[in-house]
Symmetry: C2
Subunit: 465 residues, 2 copies
């Protein structure tokens, strides 16, 4: 059976997986493997996988990790592959371990305000299940209609609501995690509080599949927010808008969304569909309050702050429908930018007081390298998504785009920021992670990795080099 | 100089510490050492320390950890020693490393809504410094007027506000941590968000001094809450009160405090000072809303829930002064119970739906062992502080108190809970931690401990056995 195999065909690994899981569960078709070889990162290497396993339950994951651990074969866990850092990219000879079929909402407990879900549950499905009980699962990455909770946990995903509600890990109470060798770890708690021992739940959240494979997630839910209203304002410059953001955040109110689009982003949206955004605006802010009967007075206060900081124009929605219209420009950013070329999306988070310097610095880097750059993102958190637009068929542009991508992270670090606010490190940001955490931090990362994964089979080459 | 020393006098360790820090910084007076040998846990062993160092800054901590690491001498970090689990108790031959003198509020940044403090800053001092800027540092352990931020971080302390705001770690953004050998680690971020690498900040929070010594803490602050109002209700039984708690938590409103006192607690408070609490009540609930102009309607809604669940009596405060009066009974619990004997305070957190079973089970255990027990605590989180009252001079009572203490944790675990909601594991709960996290969890704890502290000098024998 294996006599005609070449090393590239990984006969032992494939055979052992088929023995353990059944032949149907193991895909080795090269086209299928290639189609599953990458997430949505605009560049970064991807290797050639040996097999794809679509796990049907924790037992399948255990079997894969037992075989892989024994053979020393790499395992790359995958959700919907909507990540932007290459964290789900194949490595040579790996098992791609897809969790997408483990998509059961195990239960929603309205009394405890918790839900238990498998990792393949799509974020929006969990949100909908919570809403049926008048409850709310806040984390809302832009990919929320396609990305999975497992992927959200792996990257500790954020979103628009973070400014008020926090990131994914803030809602994760406990995990079931399969470790190399196939042992099953249960971390955390089912209760509202719990401080027993080291916080292994938080350690696994955001570890991007390098410490274990998450097979079940217990999340906390909160009461559903009340009706939301939105206001929008344009400003002559990002510096003005940044001051207005500081003004909003220094009120006693906490907005449920506070987004910024810079001039080039506004221009791209205008080019895509004329929404009547003022061409002369250097920046636009969108703000929301979800406090029901107090939303109108909240956004009136925010609008006042905008006016005090030199807004060119302020529009306050008076209804949910108007609010949706106002948010359309923000929702259109992704599509509008994709029309311009390949997008390399960065994810730098800086102290709010340094945000204008970040946005201005990104524009200067784009100009220096002859590339279009834009900045938009979660201004209330200082978390920008600088985006470099390039032509992936032009090697010079690719080279410059990579240089700008790195220079943006250096700039973020120099402003007291972090290289990633919500997307993770993956493949693309390892070098800068080492810079951010320093040699001692890197040594601790490597040590912790060895405790969980002594043979280094889990998503090797991601996060830690 | 060392020729007449016995081994108990640790001449090498003391000499090296004096050389590194100056003779003034190192205390070896046996009475002083004995006075610093324990925290507030009602029992648990305490060893004899070799020296006490009151660190004046990070450099002192580095020097202590360099010397101790080289000599393999244990180091027990201490704050205000208000812990309840023996986590700060001396071990034989250790250096007691007090952080109390490192009490500078380095800065409060109102724009970023952050503060940077040294570990010896008392919780109430940070709260006051934040309040000067209209900001709020929510974590409020009962000890908040004496306990330090370093100790709060070490135990991941909670408090009354957790039901709305969360525990200490939810507000910690970054840490400076000195590791054995004296290397200085900086974890986390200064920004609102950040997911770069493994969450070392959370790993150190709640690790009770077993992974490193925290020398600086960056916390996030939130806008100051608005005026608060309180309501109080009594119920025939804990079961009724527990249902009312579930009712309150299933409204769309989130109270800023939701506390329970059981019948024996009410009786103890009544005995201490007659506050007119109804002797026939089986339980009392206190609830608060801190939403200013909406507080009155919030507590009216809570009061309605109480009435619907069979409250004997409901009182809604109409002013801040009335609210304070209503909370007096809760504030008096500690003093009232201390009058009855030595208090062994447990800290079990269970799903809210199991809270009545916990309280009833604690009463049954007390009856079985012939000891008075009470339950009070943070009902909104399911976090109770069952308290065993005993006479520490009666060996039989001590023995039974220890048995009840353990049985309460077993009960909590059997109800799907955790052995500690906010006090930590320390010395007293190690055995049950092993049970809660299981053999694999324990192995990971030991592995992580070795990564940070390969010679095992940091607070040995605490948390992990």
């Amino acid at each position: 059976m294996t006599s005609s195999s070449t090393p590239r065909e990984h006969p032992e690994l494939r055979g052992r997986l088929r023995d353990a899981l059944g032949a149907d569960a193991v895909t080795t078709d090269p086209d299928v493997l290639a189609a599953h070889g990458r997430d949505e990162a605009a560049f970064g290497s991807a290797g050639t996988a040996a097999a794809l396993v679509r796990a049907r339950g924790t037992d399948d994951v255990r079997r894969v990790l037992a075989v892989a651990h024994e053979l020393g074969a790499p395992v790359v866990p995958q959700g919907a592959r909507t990540g932007l850092s290459g964290g789900a990219n194949a490595v040579d000879g790996c098992v791609l371990l897809s969790l997408e079929r483990m998509d059961a909402i195990v239960r929603v407990d309205p009394d405890e305000q918790t839900a238990v879900v498998q990792p393949g549950v799509v974020n929006s499905a969990l949100s909908a299940a919570a809403a049926e009980h008048g409850l709310f699962y806040p984390p809302d990455p832009s990919s929320w209609e396609v990305s999975t909770i497992g992927g959200n946990v792996a990257t500790n995903a954020g979103g628009l609501c973070c400014v008020k509600y926090g990131v994914t890990a803030d809602f994760v109470r406990g995990l079931e995690v399969v470790l190399p060798g196939g042992e099953v770890l249960r971390t955390g708690r089912r209760t509202a509080k719990g401080v027993a021992g080291y916080d292994l739940t938080r350690l696994v959240c955001g570890s991007e599949g390098t410490l274990g494979v998450v097979t079940e997630v217990t999340v906390g839910l909160v009461p559903a927010p009340e009706a939301a209203l939105t206001a929008v304002a344009t400003f002559p410059s990002v510096a003005d808008a940044a001051k207005a953001v500081a003004g909003v955040m220094s009120t006693r109110l906490r907005p449920s969304l506070l987004e910024l689009m810079d001039g080039p982003t506004i221009a791209a949206v205008n080019d895509h569909r004329d929404m009547g955004l003022p061409a002369e605006a250097g920046a636009m802010l969108l703000v929301q309050s979800d406090r029901g009967e107090r939303a109108a007075s909240d956004i009136a206060e925010f609008a006042g702050v905008f006016a005090d900081h030199g807004a060119l124009d302020v529009i306050e929605a008076e209804s949910a429908a108007e609010s949706r219209t106002l948010l359309q420009a923000r929702r259109m950013v992704h599509v509008a930018l994709e029309r311009l070329g390949t997008n390399l999306v960065d994810d730098v988070c800086v102290p709010r007081s340094r945000m204008a310097e970040l946005v201005e610095g990104v524009a200067a880097l784009g100009a220096e390298h002859g590339l279009v750059t834009t900045c938009s993102g979660h201004a209330g958190d200082g978390n920008m998504h600088p985006t470099v637009i390039f032509d992936r068929d032009d090697p010079e542009q690719v080279r410059h785009a990579e240089l700008v991508f790195g220079a943006i992270m250096e700039l973020g670090l120099s402003l007291g920021g972090t290289i990633t606010g919500e997307h993770g490190v993956g493949l693309l940001k390892r070098r800068w992670l080492a810079e951010e955490v320093g040699p001692l931090g890197a040594r601790l990362h490597a040590g912790i990795k060895r405790v969980f994964d002594p043979r280094g089979i889990l998503n090797p080459g991601k996060v830690v080099e």
